[in-house]
């Protein structure tokens, strides 16, 4: 394996990892607050990709505007899902909300099949993302750089919101103790709505970039990345935002590198993450950073 190919693999790993990380953040924030595995998060991811496609082909929006509009629209969908399907179940047994989440996941997936049809679609990519650049003598697609850079920017934005704003303080408070926070005057439902909004926006961004990187749209496209991102969140320590990022990036690298070094295992690529999940749950259910509860959100 030449150094150039290795570099290429590493870059691919980083790209995939940052996409997982963006989705994982949404899982981890919601779980940290509600102890709910938001199954519908995979579909939120998928909707992001479709909304951009719609914006560009149906409404003929310029690409950056379509991107922005899609992120906002998907954030609203996330908030709506919480309002309709989860909020009425806050006092119900935990598994009820989980079953509701599974229901929402199937609902959105099949609404997408109804609206967009099950046939895979080609994605529009702006030309400037496809003209190769020369970086230190290595040919690089701008796209492979765009994804990690844009992801890091989004994560920095999130860190700012969570750690330096008042609603962020509310999120951290609720994740520690929802009842006490409510007594202390934290507007619990609004903060939870904001959490869903932010998490969904990141998942939408991830979905959009995923579609740029692996340019095919399908209603079920969110399922596998969604599961893997959830696993990344568990691996990193569920409830921890830095954990989700680290877990996502590690999972991305592992997946790319294992397939690169052991091509025979390519068929088992999707099983790999699940094996990791089961091992983590059995050996250290708190994940890499889960024990550090001060990081919880």
């Amino acid at each position: 394996m030449t150094i150039e190919i290795l570099l290429q693999h590493l870059l691919n790993g980083l790209t995939l990892g940052s996409l997982y990380a963006l989705i994982a953040i949404g899982y981890t924030m919601v779980y940290g607050i509600l102890r709910l595995i938001n199954f519908a998060h995979s579909e939120i991811f998928m909707l992001g990709a479709y909304f951009v496609f719609w914006g560009v082909t149906l409404f003929h929006l310029p690409w950056p505007l379509a991107l922005f509009g899609a992120v906002v629209a998907v954030a609203l969908v996330g908030v709506l899902v919480d309002r309709v399907a989860y909020r009425p179940l806050r006092d119900a047994p935990r598994i009820s909300a989980l079953i509701s989440a599974i229901g929402v996941s199937f609902f959105l997936q099949n609404v997408a099949i109804v609206l967009f049809k099950a046939i895979p679609r080609e994605v529009y990519r702006p030309q400037w993302l496809e003209d190769p650049l020369l970086v230190g003598g290595v040919r690089v697609l701008p796209l492979t750089l765009f994804v990690p850079i844009f992801s890091v920017l989004l994560m920095l934005g999130l860190v700012y919101v969570v750690y330096h704003t008042k609603p962020g303080l509310g999120m951290r408070a609720i994740s520690k103790d929802i009842e006490t926070s409510a007594l202390m005057g934290v507007p619990v439902n609004q903060v939870i709505a904001l959490t869903f909004g932010l998490g969904s926006a990141l998942a939408a961004a991830s979905g959009i970039m995923w579609a740029l990187r692996y340019p095919q749209l399908q209603p079920v496209m969110g399922v596998i990345p969604g599961f893997k991102a959830f696993i990344a969140a568990v691996f990193g320590g569920i409830g921890s935002i830095p954990g989700a990022v680290i877990g996502g990036v590690i999972l991305g690298f592992l997946e790319i590198l294992i397939v690169a070094f052991f091509p025979d295992l390519a068929g088992y690529r999707d099983a790999f993450a699940f094996v990791l999940l089961i091992v983590v749950l059995l050996v250290k259910p708190t994940g890499l950073l889960g024990a550090r509860s001060e990081e919880k959100v």
């Binding site: 102890r35 709910l36 595995i37 399907a85 009425p88 179940l89 119900a92 935990r94 598994i95 009820s96 989980l98 079953i99 509701s100 599974i102 229901g103 929402v104 996941s105 199937f106 609902f107 997936q109 099949n110 609404v111 997408a112 099949i113 109804v114 049809k117 099950a118 209603p219 399922v223 599961f227 959830f230 696993i231 568990v234 068929g267 088992y268 999707d270 099983a271 699940f274 094996v275 999940l277 089961i278 749950l281 059995l282 259910p285």
Partner: protein
């Protein structure tokens, strides 16, 4: 009400069912019989998940995996060596896979046993996990089974799966297995051991303090549930005559979960009613997805609509009637007698 009367009444019901099946076989068209067959298999599947989740409180999402194991084992055993020789296109089957052959009864049982063995194997480490973590881990197990089915072409024929599986699973086999499952589950739940399963569901700590070996009983319930899931998978393979890894996606588990939640967590009669109802609703909704011609107007079918309606139904049940149709109640002879009496005095 005394026991002998119970036995007489139950035998009566089984006898009536037998007569109805014989009539159905003679007079109904193939499509209706197919639905009746699916009803039996789905009741068995709902019952098996209800045993695990509704009665023992273990949130398992691994049903598709157990069904897949049962389906593949059963199919491999009832396909003849000659059929298998022509089936395995990608790579030839292992000689022992090609040679293995068994009558249908044994093949289905073997499918169930294989699924039960798998449950025992994954249950020992996984059942320590609680609630949602158990759900996601068992879901992971089911996905791993599917990926294995895709990647072991010399055993499973890879993504192509099997075609032309002998269609032995008629009404008699399906309802026979369904009744056997019902009998075993009802007998188990009626025993003191069954009380302990429900006790574990309600308060595991108290159950353990009362001397209940919670882990062992959870494993028992999980394995037994998986056994019947495997049996259901085997029957389904023979009923549909084709299987492939795509058949055992999470959707399969979702449908079974739907039946259990709708019928009521912890109600056998609920599972029976919901198993039958959901099967029929699912079949009926198929029409929505096919083009409909009314007079000279053709409405295009809407693919996906079936599951849209279905998932909305599940959300509605969870939001507005969490206990489902029956809750933890059962329809028993005593209750029916009480209704009849009430009807008479009214």
């Amino acid at each position: 009400m005394n026991r002998s009367l119970h036995i007489i009444l139950n035998c009566g019901v089984v006898g009536c069912l037998g007569i109805l099946l014989a009539l159905a076989e003679r007079f109904l068209d193939g499509y209706s019989i197919q639905i009746l067959n699916l009803v039996a298999i789905n009741i068995l599947l709902a019952l098996s998940l209800n045993l695990i989740y509704g009665f023992t409180g273990m949130f398992s999402l691994g049903h598709a995996g157990f069904m897949a194991i049962g389906a593949y084992v059963c199919a491999l055993l009832i396909l003849t060596p000659d059929q298998k020789a022509t089936l395995f296109l990608l790579e030839p089957a292992y000689p022992w896979i090609e040679a293995a052959h068994a009558p249908f009864l044994l093949a289905v049982a073997a499918g169930g046993l294989a699924a039960g063995a798998a449950a025992l194997l994954v249950g020992i480490p996984l059942l320590r996990l609680g609630d949602d973590y158990l759900g996601i881990a068992t879901l992971g197990f089911a996905e791993i089974v599917r990926v294995l089915a895709n990647n072991l072409p010399r055993i499973t024929n890879g993504a192509l799966g099997f075609k032309g599986i002998p269609a032995y699973a008629d009404l008699w086999w399906n309802y026979g297995w369904c009744l056997l499952g019902l009998l075993i589950v009802v007998r188990l739940l009626g025993s003191t051991t069954g009380q302990c399963l429900k006790a574990i569901r309600d308060d595991e700590i108290a159950a353990r303090a009362m001397g209940v070996d919670a882990f062992r009983l959870k494993l028992l319930s999980f394995t037994l549930g998986a056994f019947f899931a495997g049996v259901g998978g085997g029957l389904l393979a023979s009923l549909l005559t084709t299987i492939d890894p795509k058949m055992f996606l999470f959707t399969m588990t979702f449908n079974v979960l739907m039946m259990v939640v709708m019928g009521g967590l912890g109600s056998v009669t609920g599972s029976v009613i919901a198993g039958a109802a959901v099967t029929m609703i699912l079949e009926w909704l198929r029409f929505v997805e096919n083009p409909i011609t009314v007079g000279n107007l053709t409405l295009p079918g809407i693919p996906g609509m079936r599951m849209v309606v279905f998932s909305l139904l599940l959300i509605a049940v969870i939001l507005f009637r969490r206990e489902g149709l029956m809750g933890t109640r059962e329809i028993t002879w005593e209750r029916m007698a009480a209704w009849v009496r009430r009807g008479r005095t009214a």
